[in-house]
Symmetry: D2
Subunit: 312 residues, 4 copies
Amino acid sequence: MEHRFQPALYHRTFGSHEPVLHLGSGDRLITTTADALGQDATGERVTEPGNPLTGPFYIDGAEPRDTLAVSLERIEPNRDHGFTRSSIASNAVDPDYVPELPERTLVRWDVDTEGRTATLQIPGATPPQIELPLAPMLGCIGVAPDRGQAISTATSGPYGGNMDYRGFVTGVTAYLPVFVPGALLHVGDGHAVQGDGEIVGTGVEISMDVELTVNVISGKPIGWPRGETDEDIFTTGNARPLDQALQHATTEMLRWLLQDYGFDAAGANHLMGQAVRYEVGNVFDPAYTMVCKMPKRHLPPPTRTARPAAGT
Amino acid sequence: MEHRFQPALYHRTFGSHEPVLHLGSGDRLITTTADALGQDATGERVTEPGNPLTGPFYIDGAEPRDTLAVSLERIEPNRDHGFTRSSIASNAVDPDYVPELPERTLVRWDVDTEGRTATLQIPGATPPQIELPLAPMLGCIGVAPDRGQAISTATSGPYGGNMDYRGFVTGVTAYLPVFVPGALLHVGDGHAVQGDGEIVGTGVEISMDVELTVNVISGKPIGWPRGETDEDIFTTGNARPLDQALQHATTEMLRWLLQDYGFDAAGANHLMGQAVRYEVGNVFDPAYTMVCKMPKRHLPPPTRTARPAAGT
Amino acid sequence: MEHRFQPALYHRTFGSHEPVLHLGSGDRLITTTADALGQDATGERVTEPGNPLTGPFYIDGAEPRDTLAVSLERIEPNRDHGFTRSSIASNAVDPDYVPELPERTLVRWDVDTEGRTATLQIPGATPPQIELPLAPMLGCIGVAPDRGQAISTATSGPYGGNMDYRGFVTGVTAYLPVFVPGALLHVGDGHAVQGDGEIVGTGVEISMDVELTVNVISGKPIGWPRGETDEDIFTTGNARPLDQALQHATTEMLRWLLQDYGFDAAGANHLMGQAVRYEVGNVFDPAYTMVCKMPKRHLPPPTRTARPAAGT
Amino acid sequence: MEHRFQPALYHRTFGSHEPVLHLGSGDRLITTTADALGQDATGERVTEPGNPLTGPFYIDGAEPRDTLAVSLERIEPNRDHGFTRSSIASNAVDPDYVPELPERTLVRWDVDTEGRTATLQIPGATPPQIELPLAPMLGCIGVAPDRGQAISTATSGPYGGNMDYRGFVTGVTAYLPVFVPGALLHVGDGHAVQGDGEIVGTGVEISMDVELTVNVISGKPIGWPRGETDEDIFTTGNARPLDQALQHATTEMLRWLLQDYGFDAAGANHLMGQAVRYEVGNVFDPAYTMVCKMPKRHLPPPTRTARPAAGT
């Protein structure tokens, strides 16, 4: 079943808020997200800034210790401009270098969804223009945390959240642990393009058209958000320091190989040792995000998956 | 000028040891390295284990505050097998998961330099065999540190060292800061293939044929080892935690864009924010290694480089 | 005015929950807290385990950017036993040492409030008994966080929370930043005694009699929880890694010396450099706590304080 | 036997340098150290700045895997002034606060060894004078590291080094692991007083009279430097981040309780959980130092010690 939903209110926490819509497992959702500043497709401010989210969506049948699979089918900017901050965050450079960082302001980028570029004019700067290929992604994707918590969209955790990982793009299936009945999916904080680490504290912040399909995988608990593309599977860890985020992501990948790919501990350790890849999600938010990736070409077919087969 | 050098003794520190050979700027060196266990092309133990190094090579004319460019022209296994450890390091998984790691032993991989594969048979394990494409790299590359120090080849620092970054491969030019007259280049610790992070504490440890050309870039100090491929430039930071390694690498990339690519602070911050890539060198050694990468396609031509033009 | 309050329900998040009682600035509160396991003075489980809190108390007149002063006048165990975990947390020892830690169980301590001791019998262990002097403290003290958040009592932040600092004892005035109207004070998680770092994940967990007086300091925002005894002032930082917690606490102390003690930057930096003391709150919870202390004997009288003068 | 030694040359690395003197186990040494700037009792620069060390002293009979006990009998400034830096290090405050730190200069303190004070005049600052009680300590104490290393006196490790812990004072016995024959003891970097963390990057840097007695404890390997006073035993961990330093120190204390105090794992874990104390050595040097302390009043008599009994 397909649902179209136009948000009227937004949340700035991942929490057990009143659901805006119920979706069945297998249903498809067509919606939009405002940008991090609270501006929608019209460019008007429709809500407070600070990563306002669309949702939460109640997924019928999702229960604690289930997994929610969210197939991102279309993550696409729905207007012609976005915004970035102008200076690298003070925590991403050597402490002694901080006084040399430029002033922190907001600048506007032109986003050309036809030409697939994001372009910044910097009059008087060198170079005077930066043009990058579009790579639209969702900075925030997650469910309601456990224990009745409501946690700021500035940060992330086992429930997902503001991971700012440039891998949450069209074509990816995200897997999220379920902590409350209905899971309560929230999405937002789209970026037209973003560098690794989100080191200026923003991607090219923009409102998005979002199309996704949800599936409940019953009785299969996971520890951290996971993801899958045609080429790779990946796990995320959200914590500080980056070392701890990496520990979470690595441990979650080990568990995945053991649970769903038939590996024993020896095989999983050997393969990961020589074939694992890491990617940095963000090193800006209160919790950093590290991603642990494994190419599918090194893996046997999984025993369980909610992802549509590639090419079908 | 081309030099052939066959090592007879090895060092287990990066330090101001007696040079084994003098090279002129622009000279080419053809040599070999023993593996991390002290075994050479014959598979025999020729020196103590623990990342024994070939060198140091005195580069005529290199002075403190110069930069040494080392173009890696051939990094290629010179025997048919290597070794890995069998379990992920306790510091790379969640602390509570440590008791679930398998026993730490050494296993042998078959290395097929014709077929370009490294293969592990694990009788009784699942899967019983792991086969990966060869991707030969140098785990250790560096110069003598400052202040008369001699530092274990287990770790790394501004002088390079045991960075265990899978990007030091054939075709890369490494740039190293010079701290002592002659720079004193050391190389070793070859891996036939290695996962990001070297999370089992080894790649596929193997002896190597090494061919490289050295060039002195006078009067150009750099802060951390850098590198260049046909597609990218990159900087490394070596420290714990990974956050600090990332700070070093990020700061070094900022400096590079400003010094050699004509960027001002505004331009460099904006470009890096939306286009930077990070890669994890190692998260096993006493100092971790983080790599900050920038695709050349986003950069104007540099004002200075020691790298031969691509395709010439 | 003095209020007596006996809790009937408890919260496991610091959040904007319905207030259980209104207090005026200057009012005194006499109440009790359940232990971390949800057991009260009778030793019966009265609520779910996981640091259930008493409150929140609405402080009339407290507004965002005010500071709430909470003078702890009596923190005293109200029963004869408590509980601890039996093994040091895996994150507080070297990763390779984790497999050598003993099994994680709960053990019971006898608490003698007359003799002022906490005593553990460990039949068969060496030594067979551990007896320590009582040093009763509150593990959890805090207010509702900003942005409508509700955050687990497992962790801490700028709003206070589960800091597990053994310095929150009878005689201390705690200062908390106010984020919401009424501040919404929560208290709980008493420990009869606790080592630095709460490295086994518990102190001697016990229900408490709590007596405190609240005062609103208007128009004086602070960044992190602070405290004051007759001898010292202190600031707390709550984050991981411990380095970042220390940065927060150090910065907050600098701000305090500048704001309230008449120091300029030169004076504050010089004094802190040679006279500062650090104490570790906890290294167990998701956010660690570091405390920065300055002896009052090195300070001039403050321009502002809500603490009753010593000896009056 | 008592030796008097006046240094003529100094080293800026802990390493296997030519010994300046041989000492027998049980011998007493009376010597001096230059300050961190290379200035001796006369206030003249006698060697290069950067923590120049006196020694190394070869202890006859000390072999790898022994422990060297160094009883510090007199650590006392031998001139009337010292130096400090004027600003807190950029890594000890919040990254965003760095631009607010004062300029980094060197200032002179008056040191009155009769009146037992260190006093700074800061004309024009508020307050205009800071006076602190003397608390003379050694910033650097250590032996030659393993593997032929020579490591800068800027940092520290298992061999000791520049720990900048204000607990290395008159009356303390330090225990150091021995890595090379003769141990090769180095001392230096005296501070007339120092705050926790050495957060300005210096204590009150001063030349010292040093009197100490060495004892070899054969066949007893330790993992990290330890210490003992009349009231406490303590262990040190040297690493970044502070979390890892704490892990080392905690693990070393566990080992000590098990090896020398007759504890089993259950007893050691329980006691440490409720009675351990941590102190911050430094958070300035490349390796931070965390100290884990246990009051002797909680311990049975040790089975082995090299410390003279208190009061004898």
